[in-house]
Symmetry: C2
Subunit: 101 residues, 2 copies
C-alpha cells in the first residue's frame, strides 16, 4: 500500500468551492483499480491550503488513473481552483501506532 | 480530531537512523493526553524526505506536548537528524472515503 500526498494551494477564498467540487468528483478516483481510500484535509494555519491523501494498492494504480479518461474530467473540475501547480509525492509507511494512525 | 503534519528532510543517508530513533521515541508522544495515533511515512521520490502524521483530539493537546518535559527528550533524540527545520502544520478533515482513508 502506498500513500499519494498532494499539497494544494487554492485561489484565495475559494476553499469552500474547491471542497464542494472535490466532494462531487471523488467518485472518479474511488472507481479506480487499486483505490483504497482518500481524505481531504484543510490547513488550520493557512485556510487556502489543503492536503489530499489517497491510499493506493500500488504506485502503478495512481499512474494508471493519471492516464485514464476520467482524469481529464477530474482535472477540468478540480484544477481551476489551484493557485499554483499542486505538489504530488508518494510515500510508504515505515512506522505506525495508536488507534487512529 | 485534528491532524498534525510534519514535513522532515533528514540529513543525506540518515534515513534508517532517523527511522530507528523515531521508533524508539514514539512512546513519548503516545503517552500524551489527547494522542490518538501516528504514522511515519517515507517519500518514494525523495528518500531523505519523511512526513509524520499525528492525530490529536484537540490542537491544544499538541501544544501541551511541545511544552512538556518529554518534548525536550524527543527533540534531543530526533532533531539532530534534520537537515533543515521541520515544517509543522495542523489540518482538519473535510471529506473522506474508502476503506483505508
Amino acid at each position: 500500500m502506498i500513500l499519494e500526498m498532494v499539497v494544494v494551494q487554492v485561489r484565495t477564498g475559494m476553499g469552500a468551492d474547491y471542497e464542494r467540487a472535490f466532494y462531487e468528483s471523488a467518485h472518479l478516483i474511488a472507481a479506480c483499480q487499486g483505490y483504497l481510500g482518500h481524505r481531504l484535509l484543510r490547513c488550520i494555519e493557512i485556510p487556502d491550503k489543503f492536503v489530499v491523501l489517497v491510499h493506493w494498492q500500488r504506485l502503478d494504480d495512481h499512474v494508471a488513473f493519471n492516464q485514464a479518461p476520467q482524469y481529464q474530467l477530474w482535472k477540468s473540475r478540480i484544477h481551476p481552483f489551484y493557485a499554483a501547480p499542486s505538489v504530488v509525492e508518494h510515500f510508504h509507511t515505515v512506522a505506525a501506532g495508536g488507534t487512529s494512525s
